[in-house]
């Protein structure tokens, strides 16, 4: 699937990247949706601290499959929102930064930690994608088979991460409006 130029971007959080690394499909991630994937420096710092993750993300950056962008320190609205989210929604550094940026842009959030993030996204009309949305789209595109998704899920769960289902067949894909 080609990348749309001069359009919105997918701002990715550490959990989705981590899932795709554990799931063994990290080289596919940038091909699933037609939008470039970017990672905030604050998210990069966070994922670099996770064991075995830095090298994988550095490879993606070096091969320009994803791009690192700085947190917009010069935007007072985003800065304030970032601090608000950290304090009031008890979010970590990277996730707070992603939410604050997507709130004031047309970008798409990629995050799987949706316990109360989904509420924030709905409140502010933010488009978001979860790890499962990526898998659904990859199946629709013919990039993954259902058996690949099952294997992906098993690998992610074995690595100690959480997903909403234990088998692909248990998951119902939602309609996306991006």
């Amino acid at each position: 699937m080609g990348t749309k130029k001069n359009d919105k971007i997918i701002l990715i959080d550490a959990d989705v990247l981590s899932h795709f690394i554990s799931g063994g499909q990290i080289t596919l991630i940038h091909k699933i949706f037609p939008y470039p994937i970017k990672i905030l420096n604050k998210v990069y710092v966070e994922i670099s601290r996770m064991p075995g993750r830095k090298r994988e993300v550095d490879n993606l950056l070096n091969f320009k499959l994803i791009e690192q962008i700085p947190f917009p320190e010069d935007n007072p609205e985003i800065r304030k929102e970032y601090h608000y989210i950290k304090k009031k929604l008890f979010k970590g550094d990277g996730e707070s930064a992603c939410l604050a940026v997507v709130r004031y842009s047309k970008d798409i959030l990629a995050s799987s930690n949706l316990k109360d993030t989904a509420h924030y996204c709905n409140l502010h009309n933010i488009s978001y994608l979860t790890t499962m949305d990526f898998l659904c789209q990859a199946v629709t595109n013919g990039q993954l088979f259902e058996s690949d998704c099952d294997e992906f899920i098993q690998r992610v769960l074995k690595a100690g991460s959480r997903l909403p289902v234990k088998k692909w067949g248990e998951y119902g894909c939602r309609e996306l409006d991006l």
């Binding site: 320190e73 800065r79 304030k80 970032y82 950290k86 304090k87 008890f90």
Partner: protein
Amino acid sequence: MNQDQIIGKNLQALRKKLGFTQDQVAAYLQINREEVSYYENGSRTASTKILSHLANLYGVDEYDFYEEDLDLANVNLALAFRAENIKSTDLEQIAKFKKIVRNYLSMKSLLEHEPTHS
């Protein structure tokens, strides 16, 4: 007042309340004293990283710096004590300890807000 001025006013008030000098704060942040002064008078924007370090040192949340009417008595100072004759290395340790206290308070608050499952 713009955002930088509000933040600056609060940075100065908190620093003075805790008895730190600009020199001490500058040494802790590893920047020049003048830069601390710029942040406090609102003529320069403090980065989110600088605000995070200062929040740890002062025992508050970064978002408290945005309060237009910051009543210092009501700010949750995680551990407020006056710091006289303290070296910058001591300040680092104090900031780390306050961060732990602050995280503990956040987690406590989070658990209190967690819905009860039946």
